[in-house]
Symmetry: C2
Subunit: 425 residues, 2 copies
């Protein structure tokens, strides 16, 4: 039985709106799982080794529910375009290059090394349509020590020749071959079924993927109601569906079988939200991407109020950075702009609520993850605030320091990272 | 006569929407002023020493038209509040502490050191109401080598006892004493008249400040049409003014005498915009602050189209960072959200346009500043992109690299900075 103790200024979300704060607290870890946070070391753990980070903030690892690993290659560029143009002009041609395994290996090495050093402890990501490149990405992710879901993307229509699978059948067969090849190979890196979005997937392909999900009990990730033009297009392509969400749900790809993550949900109609709630679908809120691609601002307050699962996604490369501190900040900022410009009835997100989204909110997709309450996975970050000089009026509370870190995280750094009780650095 | 040459990948705004790009170009500097950018060293400068930064981006220094130096002490905190609450609960009590010169000196030392290392070459800033602290700030700014305007703030009403001057007369007298004390003392640090905003300044005070501006030909900075509650308040306080802008203009504080910068202008009515245009008033657009304080999004496209002067401001500590790269990025992002959520008739800002705002747009307040065209001040940044790993598909153009740097600037760094031809680091 492995036991140790993390000591420092510990914070985690007790509820979506309330932080639990422990100045000079101790987090007890046993076999990779939290036994809770205490003001002093309990007698029964008196002999456990202490990792003493007194004076440092300790928070749960951050959870990225949505990103595109191959797009890390061109983050921060070509942002003058809206979604569909951006996909066709820039994204698809570059994703096509991941057909070359050597290129994929090099690109994914840079991506996974950066992700390992970031504040992210768990991530759910798209690869490309390419089986070999997807396996290279899974191998590289496994080496990081992070926990992840990686999806080989399915696309059999409305995509350029260079990035379209030959047929629905070929796409399904390739997916099964991929799943068989990676089955049991990795400890922390799991497959997830990934229809890119309704426009790129024929009904036949969706049906085949739904069958795989049912048979193997796998989770699903895709995109939903991101952009008005995209939503219109889906209406034309899937006239029998009640809404965009239903176009997945009718094929068991919306959470009725395995868990499902839908990225964005900026413009979901009421009945789609009700369906999300009924199915336990997770919303991956991606504010950076939704601003960069001029998509809009998701009504996250509503999702929280109605009990829809919601977490955050960086959505690289619609989003420019893998830093979830930026995503947390922008979730707060954009909720304020939404309150001011769209709907004053929905109060903006507090920083505590946006922090919840990035930890326990998204963490729920992985099980008991994103909190230090007893029984949760011991995923933890030790933060270094030395790079954030602030002439102080008074001693700051841990909560004030955490808010400051979220706004200025790029000036500080992640000093240590633990995943499931294992210290990565 | 001092001459030298900067060599590298040089970019600057030729027009608000067009970048001038020189791969392996040379910028000729003579007596602190640009003689233009050329593909090769002209024969007449063949003997000038070359500062060779081949492979690096070289851009004009960035201009911050609006920030509050004393608020650097608490940037990135207490962001759950709207403007007026945030001022009363947090900002005013801390600004009051700058009465102690020792505290001011320490706080301003940290602020000015950080600003010196940032991408900013010129800034226009508020101090507090305190004469001594303002002089400490001017001394510290002068040491940085940056060019700045610093304003002792005027407040004689609707402010807490701890941060209110005794009377209009006392405020005016203190302002004159400050101006006399700093006259001729600094080379790069200039005074600017600074009524905080209409709610904090009585008519008598405004009249006194207007007289100083007329007499001494000094510029003015203040706040305008930032937040709906504030605008309502101004209507009540100044019922005879046609609009918020007119409440300054009637006292010669809106650009009719010295130049004027008005921060925010998020909700300016048509006649206020016309007045801004007529007076040549500069808008300091502060997207980070306007999101953090839930104020809204300024119609920057309109200001550009109508020929109103507009630049960017970080508005520390409504904004959390002095990095204008963040401000540029958010100017683009928020213009996209405005296009999507408020007014689809006003096209969003391209990254080239937001870059213009941060350079030549704001630079115009300082004269021929913010460009490398002939006759402009030789304010330049040499950028270091090594911290931004991108597995490349192809060699990136200087323009693609500049956009990437704007989105990921915190991962790169400013390698060298020149102001008026002087190398600061």
């Amino acid at each position: 039985m492995s036991r140790f103790i993390l000591k420092g200024d510990i914070l985690y979300s007790e509820t979506p709106s309330k932080l639990s704060t422990w100045k000079d607290g101790v987090l007890i870890v046993e076999d990779g799982v939290s036994k809770g946070v205490f003001p002093e070391v309990p007698a029964s753990f008196a002999n456990a080794p202490i990792h003493d980070y007194t004076g440092h903030l300790i928070i749960p690892g951050l959870i990225d529910l949505h990103l595109h690993a191959p797009q890390y290659a061109f983050r921060g560029m070509w942002m003058d375009e809206e979604l569909l143009d951006w996909l066709n002009k820039h994204t698809f041609p570059i994703e096509a290059r991941y057909k070359e395994a050597a290129f994929a290996e090099e690109a994914y090495k840079i991506f996974t090394q950066d992700l390992r050093r970031s504040a992210t402890t768990r991530a759910v990501m798209f690869s490309t349509i390419h089986k070999e490149a997807t396996i290279r990405l899974m191998e590289a992710m496994e080496e990081t020590g992070l926990v992840s879901y990686v999806g080989k993307v399915n696309m059999d229509r409305h995509s350029p020749d260079i990035l379209r699978e030959e047929s629905a059948q070929a796409s399904v067969q390739d997916t099964i071959a991929w799943l068989d090849e990676v089955a049991g190979r990795f400890q922390n890196t799991h497959p997830i079924i990934t229809p890119r979005f309704v426009p790129s997937c024929s009904d036949e392909l969706m049906e085949g993927l739904g069958a795989i999900v049912k048979e193997r009990g796998l989770p699903v990730q895709s995109h939903l109601s991101e952009n008005y033009s995209e939503i219109e297009w889906v209406k034309q392509l899937s006239p029998d569906s009640a809404n965009y969400g239903d176009a997945y749900d009718r094929f068991h790809l919306f959470g009725s079988e395995g868990k499902a993550i839908m990225a964005h949900c900026n413009h979901s109609p009421d009945e789609e939200v009700r369906l999300m709630k009924r199915r336990g679908t997770f919303v991956a809120h991606c504010p950076d991407s939704n601003a960069n691609l001029a998509s809009g601002i998701a009504p996250v307050r509503r999702y929280l109020d109605e009990g829809v699962h919601v977490g955050l996604g960086t959505d690289v490369a619609g989003g420019a950075t893998v830093s979830l501190f930026t995503t947390i900040r922008e979730a707060v900022q954009h909720s304020k702009l939404r309150w001011r410009l769209v709907d004053g009835e929905l109060p903006w997100l507090t920083f505590a609520e946006a922090f919840f989204l990035a930890t326990a909110g998204g963490g729920a997709f992985f099980g008991k993850v994103g909190s230090f309450a007893e029984g949760f996975a011991a995923d933890a970050l030790v933060l270094d605030e030395h790079g954030i000089p602030t002439p102080l009026m008074k001693e700051l509370t841990p909560q004030e320091r955490l808010e400051r870190f979220i706004y200025l995280g790029h000036e500080g750094s992640v000093l240590h990272k633990y995943v499931q009780g294992v210290k990565l650095f």
